[in-house]
Amino acid sequence: METLVALSSGFAVAMTPYNLMWSALGVTIGTAIGVLPGIGPALTLALLLPVTYGLEPVSAFIMFAGIYYGAMYGGSTTAILLNTPGESGSIVTAIDGHAMARQGRGAQALATAAIGSFIAGTIATLALTFVAPLMVKLALLFGPAEYFALMVLALTTVTAVLGASLSRGLASLFFGLALGLVGIDLQTGQARLTFGILELLDGIDTVIVAVGLFAIGETLYNAARYRFEKEEIYALKGSKWMGKEDWKRSWKPWLRGTALGFPIGALPAGGSEIPTFLSYLVEKRLSKHPEEFGKGAIEAVAGPEAANNASAAGTLAPLLSLGLPTSATAAIMLAAFQQYGLQPGPLLFDNNPDLVWGMIASLYIGNALLLLLNLPLVGLWVKLLVIPRPWLYAGILVFATLGAYTLNNNVVDLIILWIIGLIGFGMRVLDVPVAPCVVGLILGPLAEQQFRRALAISQGDPTVFFTHPLSLGLLITAALLVLVPVVLKARQNRREQDAQAQI
């Protein structure tokens, strides 16, 4: 009850025309930076930080929250239409989203992403309102052993994106894992696989690899085939609205994506990629049409998009209730709190209720504004695909290159982008799936660090992974996810053989 009263006074703060304007501005900027690869919400907030000094804290935070949510929203647009994920949270969206776009179902993909993000954002904000302290308690239970188990669970996603050939899928996965090793090892400070190149010391950026493999590799492949076989790309086939079937296939993934995204977002080392991977895996396992995955299944867009938005709300739970920043964006928001002389943490709710509840209320409003902003634009966005093919391809290449440069303002990144792009082209020609590579690149280093930390703390005793109940539970889930489909398939095969034998 108390929460509801506080929330309604928060709405009173956020609904003033002045604060509504900042919220609208925030979501608009957020959508724009989400669309541009390379410019993330963290960079934007850092740029705006000194500028917003003259603002009331509550207005500034309402705008910041709008930017954060908006960026999660906007990232899906380029992933779906141009196969160029703007943020690492939308990498998974590109896999099936772009396939849908090529079949003339881009409008539906964008719509399910937008509505899914809205629903996930709203539910996760509700969760933030009511169960934030509980989430934080759960998050603190996660030590290195638990994180390692979570990474292993997420790695099983690979089984969903391996493609037709096991060996090709594994080759791609190991390529990704190897790329993930490049750079300074966090635990010992030693450089690995950097060949004396200073720029490689910080490792290879995930977004660069994803953009290289998806956007550059794919575009080069299409351009190379263009003279021989003309694939029809439809900007829009049929209605631009989601049909009955689309709704039916989307609503459950939205909810499941939210359920995965919020708690994992609240984990200090959770991030926005892991829930999107898990959502993809879960949807493929539960779907009646697993064969459509990778070729434009709407569930594979609906689930991960809901998951990445829900994780954004999850990130705010430890930030507001403990002062724990769990992402780069949250770290800058923490700096912003300090700029106003505020100290996030348990005391913030008591000392500055207007600010906290105003910001939470603005998340609901921002979500609604985002839907209003994005849905009408869907028809306009898909027109991108009407652009003549050579222009479109050139546009994607330029766009991807620019985005990679703005990431760190570093020329070396461009060289890496194009080398990866050419490798991606080669993989595409040889029919090696690229998704396992990205999964390996993101999860490999995380899993390794947590594994070594867990062992350092236990002084080399490997049983920690099985004696911690949470860790054990996660590992068993991972084992089941891999083994059950194999067992089921084997039994099915045997039954078919038996049936044939009887005939």
Binding site: F142, I184, G189, G323, A456
Partner: protein, 325 residues
């Protein structure tokens, strides 16, 4: 399409800037024109925040005009340093850096070092606190020392990246206690939230970091500070210093500013004076209070001497920790 998008993005940022009224200062006669500040780190981190604070105050005081901040992140600041050293010098430029850079140059075997830049000023510093969760059996630094001496591996020291300030301090403490620094069970984290949740969740024995990072958790009774690396107790804080507890050690995680090596003596003097005026201004002091940074200002000459000792100490410690061979 793309250009439109980029254009409108810039426009929006500009609109925000205008709306908040902080960019309306009229150009007045300024001493240094078109100054470039390089923050060798990503937006949001300590170096970036320092660069932007310097930018803000220099412009407000009309000490400089058209100040730009450029972020060149990576490898503990050594990528920014390398670009700063090799860049063509058209406009006056300065580099923000700090203690972490000194260690990173050694561990990364950076081809450029601080010999190739001119130290201008030390600006701020932070003292390191050693904290444990409130429910930890360790209630004093003395008990920690006992446990560490009895079985060095049983104490897991959480802190920032390997070879960074926290691990160096851990090494210095071990040396004072006559324990081989390489025996420290150091658990490197990405710092910030990751470190905080590891210590709040009790997954590591202790955490090390700037006192301010832990302050709210200490105040609300979630963490207990055992020691702080300052020469004397911090204002309004009861935590005893390392010195009080038998470890004769002072340690400050400092941040400073550098100029290029080829500058003329007159240019150096001008920049030195400019930073001096800035560091003593009320505006700068206000920012320090807000952010919880401790004033550690040293002008160019003093800073150069301090830096020399600091480099020697850090290089020895890193070798003893087994991070540099």
């Amino acid at each position: 399409m793309l250009l439109n998008k980029l254009g409108s993005f810039r426009y929006m940022l500009a609109a925000v800037a205008l709306a908040t009224g902080t960019m309306t200062a009229l150009p007045a006669p300024a001493q240094v024109k078109g100054l470039e500040l390089i923050a060798p780190a990503s937006p949001g981190g300590g170096w970036d925040q320092h660069a932007r604070a310097v930018q803000q105050v220099l412009q407000k005081l009309d000490l400089a005009s058209g100040v730009q901040v450029a972020n060149i992140p990576g490898a503990g600041g050594t990528i920014g340093l390398a670009q700063f050293v090799t860049a063509k010098k058209r406009a006056p430029s300065m580099l923000v850096g700090g203690q972490i850079m000194v260690g990173a140059i050694v561990t990364n075997k950076s081809p450029v070092t601080l010999d190739q830049v001119t130290p201008l000023a030390r600006l701020t510093g932070e003292y390191t606190a050693i904290v444990v969760p409130t429910d930890s059996p360790l209630t004093s630094f003395e008990q920690l020392v006992e446990k560490f001496k009895a079985d060095p591996g049983s104490v897991s020291w959480g802190g920032g990246s390997a070879g960074g300030s926290d691990q160096i301090l851990a090494g210095l403490i071990a040396k004072q206690l006559k324990i081989e620094p390489s025996k420290i069970n150091y658990v490197a984290t990405a710092g910030g939230g990751e470190l905080m949740s590891s210590i709040l969740g009790g997954h590591i024995t202790l955490a090390m970091g700037g006192y301010n990072e832990f302050a709210p958790q200490i105040q609300t009774g979630k963490l207990r500070a055992l020691a702080v690396s300052a020469p004397e107790r911090l204002a309004g804080v009861e935590t005893p210093t390392l010195k009080e507890q038998g470890v004769d050690l002072e340690f400050v995680n400092w941040r400073g500013i550098f100029a290029q090596s080829g500058i003329k003596a007159s240019e150096k003097k001008q920049l030195d004076e400019m930073i001096g005026k800035m560091a003593k201004s009320a505006e700068w002091q206000e920012i320090l209070t807000q952010r919880g940074w401790i004033d550690q200002y040293q002008p160019a000459d003093q800073f150069a001497g301090f830096l020399k000792e600091e480099r020697a100490q850090i290089e020895t410690t890193l070798t003893e920790l087994g991070l540099v061979k």
